[in-house]
């Protein structure tokens, strides 16, 4: 196994995530794409950690997972509220700052 293989996998995942964030209109799918990007980073961290024989990368990955869980909790709550108020999860409809 080579480091490159992991990096290519993570780059592919990251690009998929970026595409999803920029192109999907459904809020839930955007959130899932963000998860993809975060996990691409995790793969990088773990791969480097394994190849450099240092544990700190894995610790970082654990932190990222925790923060990602919190972030998705908040994000889903926001999407749910958007859906409840606008009857659609479409993010293009959320373009006004209004109470």
């Amino acid at each position: 196994m080579q480091l490159n293989q992991f990096l290519i996998l993570s780059a592919f995942l990251f690009c998929t995530g970026v595409y999803g964030v920029l192109a999907r209109r459904n809020g839930v799918l955007v959130l899932m794409s963000i998860e993809l990007m975060l996990n691409a980073v995790n793969i990088n961290l773990v791969a480097f950690s394994a190849f450099h024989h240092s544990v700190s990368g894995q610790v970082f990955a654990l932190f990222v997972i925790t923060i990602a869980a919190a972030e998705v909790g908040v994000g889903l709550a926001i999407v749910l509220l958007i859906y409840r108020n606008l009857r659609t999860p479409d993010l293009d409809r959320v373009d006004r700052l209004k109470g």
Partner: protein, 665 residues
């Protein structure tokens, strides 16, 4: 207890969580938890205050350091970021004010908010507010202070919009939040500047010491100016005062707690807390004039003048709050630290009392209306307790001896005179005259004459009248902590810092000439209003007869057109259509100017006006408007409000930057 002062803030914070989680299931829907928590906080605050005073007394004038207790939150690059408490005289005063007013307001709210649909939520928000304010006043570093600062802003937003079913209320809440945010930008930059200016520390004592040592004056001036913007935003100073009157959309007890006694004084507190920065930055010892005193002085007059044309009793009080906050900021600006903090202390009691009195009138006298001209009048016969407490508070606000406001205002003005700020002494006297006059007007319209409302007005229940009486007693007694006329200077002795405090702050002795002048200003204000309202003397109906008077009146009713300036010019331009701004300039500035000029020779001017304005000006403006409409349309596409467009721009920027990093490395 000085070492465990954090418990005082922790109790309301816990109460917030408890009320939110189980409040609905409790027999009194959570109010008992909130009142018990803040009551306990008050008791502990009294213990803290007693121990602090004891500490000062036993030190016999030697330098008493503030009691600082701090934990390391995290370290980053050798910089320690802590959370902790700093207990000194200023913190003790503020803690006392916050807990006393909060307790009375919560007791009052059990009657005033009885049966409200979000009763539990309301008490939870009050608890959170009390906790945040206590965090703010006990903070030992500027970062922690900023956390408390933002939290009180959030609570203010929540409580102004408490009845969010009505659109006007959510608008007012948003306005308050966004306007104070404008000032908060100043706070953030100011905190960063002071961090570097003081040699990489957020610690308040160190910042003050570093500032008083001097050093790079331009840096301190920049820091002080940014922090002054924060004060202007939070404490409703001119020209960002416009949110405060609108914030009256919230429930009245909230107005008393947040928009009179505590949250709005956070700005003044910031000025007092980081006084070294302002002292050095604005060269306060030099006398003459400086930005801080100027802002305060303008605010005194603007607030007082606008208070005259309000029909809504709460708005009169709101403008009066603005004016009084102006006194405090001006006091800090002219080097009267002790007098400004003392005015904050006394003002909290009588202003809370005025608001709660207005709420009592609306609750039991005028069917939840605050319109003095339509629904009030003659209420002194029906509501004696409310009437007398309101009169006591008005006298204290106007600065009539022996009520609290007299001592604090007189000391403030005397110090201004002695520190070489004679101009501001006269501004203060003018403010005292105006204050006396508009409060007399307010008392007359509410309590004298014939009852103009409908229904059966009656006195409020004890849950409302008892806090009124307590506050009335405090409004009378609080002044005697610092009565230079009787050589009582306990407030200065107990609460003025001895460490990291400018040595140039003077404490002039009482002078009869100044005291008499101040009382004379009040007496004239009262007499003018008395003659106008009770004796029917003076130019009644001038606004109907005289064109100039009418326009002046409209100018005031429209709040100097500041609101239109902000929504029309600032917000409108940013949103895209520059065209709207141009047409606004046409409608208000050009027309207004033309109208004012025409006041002198209106008949002759009318012909010119129509030709000039309609043809030439409109033609130019329309041409301008079309041009700017097109540029606005171009700019608008950037601010689309579309999340993914922003994300794409962001991603592109990061991609380009990282590419540049790779290439140039």
């Amino acid at each position: 207890m000085l070492d465990y002062a954090w418990i005082v803030a922790l109790l309301p914070a816990l109460s917030f969580v408890v009320v939110l989680l189980v409040g609905r299931r409790l027999p009194r829907h959570g109010s008992e938890v909130g009142i018990a928590a803040v009551g306990a906080s008050l008791v502990l605050t009294c213990v803290v205050a007693a121990q602090w005073i004891d500490r000062v007394e036993t030190a016999h004038g030697a330098g008493v350091r503030p009691v600082v207790h701090s934990l390391t939150w995290w370290r980053n690059g050798g910089i320690r970021i802590g959370v902790g408490t700093q207990i000194d005289g200023l913190a003790v005063v503020l803690m006392f004010v916050v807990t006393v007013v909060s307790l009375l307001v919560q007791v009052y709210s059990t009657a005033y908010m009885h049966g409200d649909r979000r009763y539990t939520y309301y008490f939870a928000a009050l608890s959170l507010f009390t906790a945040s304010m206590l965090l703010l006043v006990m903070a030992d570093n500027t970062l922690e202070l900023m956390v408390g600062w933002e939290l009180v802003g959030l609570c203010s937003f929540m409580l102004i919009g408490h009845w969010w079913e009505e659109h006007a209320n959510t608008d007012a809440a948003l306005k308050a939040f966004l306007t104070t945010r404008t000032g908060d930008v100043g706070l953030m930059i100011g905190v960063v500047i002071t961090f570097f200016a003081a040699g990489r520390t957020f610690d308040i004592v160190h910042i003050n010491q570093a500032a008083l040592r001097g050093g790079n004056h331009a840096l301190w001036l920049a820091g002080a100016s940014c922090l002054l913007v924060a004060i202007i935003g939070k404490s409703g100073q001119f020209p960002l005062h416009t949110w405060l009157p609108d914030a009256m959309a919230g429930p009245t007890p909230v107005s008393a707690l947040i928009h009179a006694a505590t949250m709005v004084v956070a700005g003044v507190y910031l000025g007092a807390r980081l006084y070294g920065v302002f002292w050095t930055g604005f060269s306060i010892h030099a006398g003459g004039v400086n930005a801080m005193a100027l802002v305060g002085g303008i605010t005194i007059v603007v607030g007082a003048v606008l208070a005259f044309v309000q029909d809504d009793i709460k708005k009169v009080l709101a403008y009066s709050t603005i004016s009084q906050l102006g006194y405090m900021v001006m006091g800090l600006g002219v080097g009267a630290w002790t007098a400004a903090v003392f005015h904050l202390f006394t003002h909290a009691f009588f202003k809370a009392l005025l608001f709660l009195g207005a709420g009592s009138v609306a609750h039991s006298g005028s069917h939840h209306s605050f319109d003095m001209k339509r629904d009030m009048g003659g209420l002194r016969r029906y509501m004696p307790v409310t009437f007398w407490t309101f009169v006591v508070a008005s006298a204290a606000l106007a600065g009539l001896p022996p009520f609290a406001g007299f001592f604090s205002k007189d000391e403030l003005l005397a110090t201004a005179g002695h520190s070489g700020y004679t101009t501001f002494l006269y501004v203060g006297l003018l403010g005292a005259f105006l204050t006396a006059a508009y409060m007399t007007r307010c008392v007359y319209l509410t309590f004298f004459g014939d009852f103009r409302g409908h229904g059966e007005p009656h006195e409020s229940p004890p849950a409302i009248t008892v806090p009124l009486v307590v506050l009335a007693v405090l409004s009378v007694l609080a002044g005697w902590l610092y009565a230079t006329v009787a050589h009582v200077e306990k407030f200065q002795q107990w609460f003025e810092p001895r460490v990291a405090f400018p040595a140039g702050v003077v404490h002039p002795p009482f002078e009869w000439s100044e005291g008499v002048l101040a009382v004379a200003a009040v007496a004239i204000g009262f007499a003018v209003a008395y003659l106008y309202y009770w004796r029917d003397a003076g130019p009644h109906g001038a606004t109907a007869r005289d064109g100039f008077a009418r326009r002046a009146h409209t100018f005031l009713v429209e709040k100097l057109y500041l609101d239109d300036l902000y929504t029309g010019l600032v917000v409108g331009t940013i949103k895209g259509p520059v065209a709207r701004a141009t047409s606004w300039v046409d409608d208000h500035v050009i027309d207004g100017a033309v109208n004012a000029v025409a006041g002198g020779a209106r008949a002759a001017a009318r012909f010119t006006y129509e030709v000039l304005d309609q043809r030439v000006v409109d033609g130019t403006v329309n041409g301008l408007a079309e041009a700017s409409d097109e540029t606005g349309g171009l700019l608008r596409s950037v601010q689309s409000g579309r999340l993914q467009w922003y994300a794409a721009v962001l991603f592109l920027a990061v991609a380009i930057l990282s590419l540049a990093l790779v290439v140039f490395n």
